[in-house]
Structure formats: structure tokens, C-alpha cells
């Protein structure tokens, strides 16, 4: 099982903030493919400029393997202050 978290406009697009994907996809690219099956608009947005990915709260780059039970967060462009 992989836990998926969305933030900002990605929640609005998907209609949810958090979900679980079972069985566990092996890599980040597999997870994205699985999300695309149910939420094609989300999959499009995940490929957009400035979307960052964190696996278990560490920001990562590239198509990494997902540890079992990983938490994957997709974060659109950030803006505080």
C-alpha cells in the first residue's frame, strides 16, 4: 500500500486530499500511471511545471522505486508569506 497526499490546486483537481493505492506500485512512474487510470486530469496536473514530489517527506527527483508503505506527496508551486 502506498499513501498519496495532494496539496493546493491538486486537491481541487482530484477532489480528494489523501488516498491509498493497493497493491503497491513499484516505482513513482507506476504510481502516476495508476492515478491516471482513475483521475486523468490529476495525472495531467502532476506533470505540470513546478510540481514537487516527496517520498516519506524527502523531496526527490526522477523515477525512484517506492518503499513498501511509502507516503508520496505531490506539491504544486508553493507560495507562503
Amino acid at each position: 500500500m502506498i499513501r498519496v497526499l495532494l496539496f493546493g490546486r491538486l486537491c481541487d483537481i482530484a477532489g480528494w486530499r489523501e488516498t491509498e493505492v493497493t497493491p503497491s506500485p513499484e516505482r513513482l512512474s507506476d504510481l502516476k500511471r495508476r492515478l491516471a487510470e482513475s483521475w486523468p486530469d490529476l495525472a495531467l496536473a502532476l506533470g505540470g511545471a513546478g510540481v514537487k514530489v516527496a517520498i516519506d517527506r524527502a523531496v526527490v527527483h526522477g523515477d525512484l522505486p517506492l518503499p513498501a508503505g511509502a507516503e508520496v506527496a505531490f506539491m504544486p508551486p508553493m507560495s507562503g508569506g
Binding site: 493546493g8 490546486r9 481541487d12 513546478g50 508553493m78 507560495s79 507562503g80
Partner: protein, 147 residues
């Protein structure tokens, strides 16, 4: 110290607490960001955080600012949730021996918060809601500190 809070906070009280008892820090700089009403076009902001991650990411940057600008201390208070026009969104406080370091650290932290901190900002208005993303200027400002 990093504080995320979904309740209104008192910037003056925070400034006084931060400055109290500082006999060797000649300089305390601060930046207070307030929600703008945009002449009626913005009726509220909604700030979303990922609380523990947001706090730890801001904490890392505050640590970097402390080292880089030889700060004596630094504090960030950031609102989350729904914020009305005129309400404080963010307060950054920096203390240093001299003013240049205090100013630069405050500026650096704000540039970071505007474009790199895990916070998401939605503006509500009469014609609906929109997500606010960093402006070109915000991104250029953040680039100034690259090295």
C-alpha cells in the same frame, strides 16, 4: 522558533517577546505580511500547510539564515487556514549584532517563504477562488540568494 497557527496572532506581542532581554543584539529586523483586500477583489485568503513538513522545511531555512547571516536568533510565525483582509499572515523576526545582517536575513527568509516554503495560498473573491502562485518577481527575488 517556527510557529504555524490557524488562529490570529499578535505581532506586537511577538516582537516584544523576541526583543526582550537582548543586551548584545543591537539589531532586530522584522517583516509582517498582511492579507490584502485588493479593493474588494479579495474577501479572504486560505493558507494550506502540511504542518510537520512545513514546519521542518521552514526550520531548515531558518537554520541556514542563522549561519549565513551570523544571526543571534530568528523566529517565523505563519498563519494557516482562513485569513481576512488586514489580518497578519506572516511575521519574520531576526536579531543580529548589526543592522545589515538582520535586514538581509529577514529579506532572505521572506523570499524563501514566498516561493519555496510548503504553503499553498488560495484567494477568494466575488468572482470565485484562485490559487496564488509565486510571481516572476518572487522567483527572481529568491534567485538573488543562490550561491
Amino acid at each position: 522558533m517556527i510557529t504555524l497557527t490557524d488562529q490570529p496572532f499578535d505581532p506586537g506581542e511577538a516582537l516584544n517577546r523576541f526583543a526582550a532581554g537582548r543586551c548584545e543584539s543591537g539589531a532586530v529586523a522584522s517583516f509582517l505580511g498582511l492579507a490584502r483586500g485588493e479593493a474588494g477583489q479579495a474577501t479572504a485568503l486560505e493558507l494550506e500547510a502540511w504542518p510537520e513538513f512545513t514546519t521542518s522545511e521552514i526550520g531548515r531555512l531558518v537554520d541556514e539564515a542563522r549561519r549565513r547571516f551570523s544571526l543571534h536568533d530568528a523566529t517565523v510565525i505563519h498563519r494557516t487556514g482562513r485569513i481576512a483582509p488586514g489580518e497578519p499572515i506572516v511575521l519574520v523576526l531576526t536579531a543580529a549584532g548589526h543592522r545589515r545582517e538582520a535586514f538581509e536575513a529577514c529579506d532572505f527568509l521572506m523570499d524563501y517563504l514566498k516561493s519555496r516554503a510548503p504553503l499553498w495560498k488560495k484567494e477568494f473573491g466575488p468572482s470565485g477562488a484562485r490559487w496564488i502562485e509565486p510571481t516572476e518577481r518572487d522567483l527572481a527575488d529568491a534567485e538573488r540568494w543562490r550561491r
